[in-house]
Symmetry: C2
Subunit: 223 residues, 2 copies
Amino acid sequence: MTDRDGAAEPAADGVVDLLGLLAYASLVAFFRLADDASLAVSLPDKADLAGMAVTQFGHFQVLSRRIGELGADPQQAMAPFVEAIDAFHARTAPSDWLEGLVKAYVGDGIAADFYRVIAQLLDQPTRDLVLEVLADSGHAEFAIARVREAITADPAVAGRLALWARRLVGEALSQAQRVAADRAPLAGLLAGGSAAQLGEISRMFAALADLHAQRMAALGLAD
Amino acid sequence: MTDRDGAAEPAADGVVDLLGLLAYASLVAFFRLADDASLAVSLPDKADLAGMAVTQFGHFQVLSRRIGELGADPQQAMAPFVEAIDAFHARTAPSDWLEGLVKAYVGDGIAADFYRVIAQLLDQPTRDLVLEVLADSGHAEFAIARVREAITADPAVAGRLALWARRLVGEALSQAQRVAADRAPLAGLLAGGSAAQLGEISRMFAALADLHAQRMAALGLAD
């Protein structure tokens, strides 16, 4: 065992950590979207949202399989993130269908941006897998159309939903900090990148705020 | 339009009716299983039940597609059954994880037996589709194993769950009678079979009770 081999270890754990985080987030997204779908009034909306939930379950399956391929146990890989992700959702339970849509679009958007940044530090097959999973969430057009319709019908809705989106971001950041502080392997994955990678990643994190503002604008909400 | 053509009409509507009933039941089963999965304690149980939910959504998609192929609108085909199916589930919300499992196994078992009987009156492609959908529900082993474990751990559970199963059957029958009374096309499908078919169907309905008793025995419950 050379130092170089030793140094590679935390990065490998970090990969399993990241996949475990993403797998549990997908499983929870499945439950949440299925729940939100039951709030939908029309049958086609219900079916569309249920379809999105099913997509998330597909992600969970793909990610669990990859964790297994890397020689780790999916359940153990997910376990460290259960508390933070459950806490996030418990603190951001939508009180109606529109809040649910905004959460699906804004919340999943931020999460996807974050995972895309981290993916730059992964080995090629794992990175491809993560990017493939992220490309296939398909909430966007549906949520944008429904939220814009609601704002057109009742402009007062916009203020309430903008506040709601701000709360989602705040809660997401506070749980992300908690995870980053608790999970050495994940932090090691980030710290283990080359200087060029880390510079790139800092720039991409800075871009997260812009991407969030773009999503808010797409919904017709002021950030 | 001859009388014979006229007589064929209700049967065709009856097929769409049956597919609409089955499609909405599958969509609701998706939501219900997703809900029940959130009651599961362990992550693997959660994931297994979520997988069953996803299977039900696949059925919903296949059935909706077939309704479209027959020139009908899936939403309209489902609409007449929303009230009865929702009422059944509202009146049989499981109060815990074991009741959810018994409902998934006993409830879906009875429903599947019923659909299998009706399928004998359908045209060949539609019948094949219905039987394929029914073959792929996969609840059985999982539910049987978990319920038996629970009874072994605490034999008093058996009495409570047997009562629960009886209530499920009662509610299912009362909603089925309501649907049969309200839906002329579905009743027409049943009444429109040949004498030989109808004799066969009566025998199969009589067998439903036996199949139910077999399921109760498999769970380790007295009927």
